[in-house]
Symmetry: C2
Subunit: 341 residues, 2 copies
């Protein structure tokens, strides 16, 4: 097609500009300091969970974390051009974080408060949107014009980029990919609905199946010994070991997750026809080589028109745990480039 690639001018940024990318989550805050091309020159890390911080506490610790990262990079805070933040909440255009259940936030002025505390221009996005931006500019999505990102962890998050722009929706709550219904009346999801993609393709969703098969049905599985009754967030390394050793319950459950992930991806290709889809998150970092072909096969079986499946590449994410922080940094860079502040 003749559409210009929205990323073509990336390299025209002044590469001497420095940015902070901050990933604020329920368990930790992680900051990267990078040049304009996303090359990391320093990092910082702080815990949030154990201390049950309120909003002011999280802001304070975030500032500490950025200071640490600057120190690690050998620069001063004032050397930064801007900071980007990824947080587990819908973010309004004015920088308000609407609702982050695992942070205890409701309508908190995230951007304003951080700008005051850091003395820098700050730009925030939802963490899954930021992760997708990171993969788009710097990871598995490089070279694409339009990208869908899916990250399978405790839940199933994602983001949608159409020709360089995030699709955030008119209420900033778009791209709730994990909550597309893939089996009407199917397995119960944490959100209260039945048959959401996340109820099949996430650690929580798979945990429910593990519990059903192993505890209620009494099937044999390595997980019984390795995890006991804590089946709702099994470590990816354990899943990998069990999958490679052909543990029946694990193979069945992960293959089912890959199958439904492919079904959801196929439906999204039918709707949005992106040129790439990236799949990431802990399970795919551990078992991407094994599961990706199943995802591709299942997506191919439903994409319409069938011939158009060849126009979309489904690939693995490559940034791992850096995706959100790097994406937040890229978001700040792009906002500055567009003159948003």
């Amino acid at each position: 097609m003749s559409t210009p690639n929205p990323k073509d001018d990336t390299m025209s940024s002044d590469t001497k500009d420095l940015f902070a990318g901050i990933d604020i989550g329920g368990t930790k805050i992680y900051t990267v300091i990078t040049d304009a091309n996303g090359k990391i020159c320093g990092t910082g890390r702080k815990k949030t969970k154990a201390d049950k911080l309120d909003f002011a506490g999280v802001i304070e610790r975030t500032v500490d974390c950025v200071h640490d990262a600057c120190g690690n990079a050998g620069i001063a805070l004032s050397d930064l051009k801007a900071a980007g933040v990824g947080a587990p909440s819908p973010i309004l255009p004015d920088g308000t974080a609407v609702n982050a259940p695992n942070m205890g936030w409701e309508n908190v002025p995230l951007v304003k408060t951080l700008e005051k505390a850091l003395g820098l221009p700050v730009f925030a996005e939802n963490d899954c949107n930021a992760g997708t931006l990171g993969e788009y500019y710097l990871g598995g999505g490089k070279g694409s014009k339009s990208l869908i990102g899916l990250f399978m962890g405790t839940g199933l998050g994602g983001g949608i980029i159409y020709r360089g722009e995030l699709i955030t929706g008119e209420n900033c709550m778009a791209a709730e990919i994990g909550h597309m219904i893939v089996v009407e009346g199917g397995r119960r999801c944490g959100c209260g609905h039945f048959g959401c993609l996340e109820a099949y393709a996430s650690k929580t969703g798979m945990g429910n199946k593990f519990a059903h098969e192993i505890i209620f049905q009494g099937r044999e599985s390595m997980l019984k010994e390795k995890c006991g009754k804590s089946l709702s967030n099994v470590r990816s390394s354990i899943l990998k070991e069990a999958y490679i050793k052909k543990d029946e319950v694990v193979v069945e459950t992960l293959n089912e997750a890959a199958h439904f992930l492919g079904l959801g991806i196929g439906n999204m290709i039918t709707l949005l026809a992106p040129d790439k889809v990236v799949v990431g998150g802990g399970v795919f970092e551990a078992l991407g080589k094994e599961l990706l072909p199943l995802v591709q096969k299942s997506a191919k079986a439903v994409t319409h028109p069938p011939a158009s499946f060849k126009d979309t590449k489904i690939v693995l994410a490559t940034l791992g745990d850096d995706a959100v922080a790097l994406g937040a940094m890229v978001y700040a860079r792009e906002c500055i480039k567009k003159g948003h502040k």
Copy 2:
């Protein structure tokens, strides 16, 4: 939200400019002549089907149709600023119509040929995309920033507009809304897949159910007498009569169609969070009042997060048979405004 409405500047167009909007279909060509605000001042209509025209024949007849419409409006062809075309094919940025099975077209230079024949700037889009644009600027979608349009006829077509821009996808084949899978392994669709939305929510899809219930299962229905064995494209007026008279098979089938339409719409709201969805096509022109509440109920039951459903209005299309021609005209106007030719 603070996003500016992409349509706010519509009225700044020179309203003296005149446009042609052309709807090319498998059975007829329909042209409207309008001012820049979409006010129709002349129309033309020509048949295509009976004569089994090749591409050159369709072009010739389209030119005749535009001439007729100009005559009807009391203007000369040279008074037109530009023409827009909606055609049943994906359209590449260079104006090539990729594939229109019911026209017998494959990779035909639609825009170039029409520009030469008409001596005007011509802009073409897929007919369902054009219909959605028509509803967005002039019909049920007025006032929205982002809109999804669905048109239930022989098939189920649609279009997606995000903040003023059509989402055409990287291969120009996006928005195949009728081919999202809503029931994996479900009813066979004309496309060869199983469980597409179109297999439930289109006249063809409902026709298969009518045939199953009435012919194979021997259930009583008004359709037996009214349509005999031609159940695959029952006229909307007959469906309306049967629905109002509580014909069991018809009520069951239409309610099911509305249910799955709502499920598909709910999933699209979860993904794209538009502020409006318009539902049109013959069946909804006839039975919109009865079916729309069922569609809304079913969409509400699955949209995520549940509270966000209130941010999207699901309404009826209002342009009827004019939607594609008016949308094509609007498309031409917007392309001219952006200086595309």
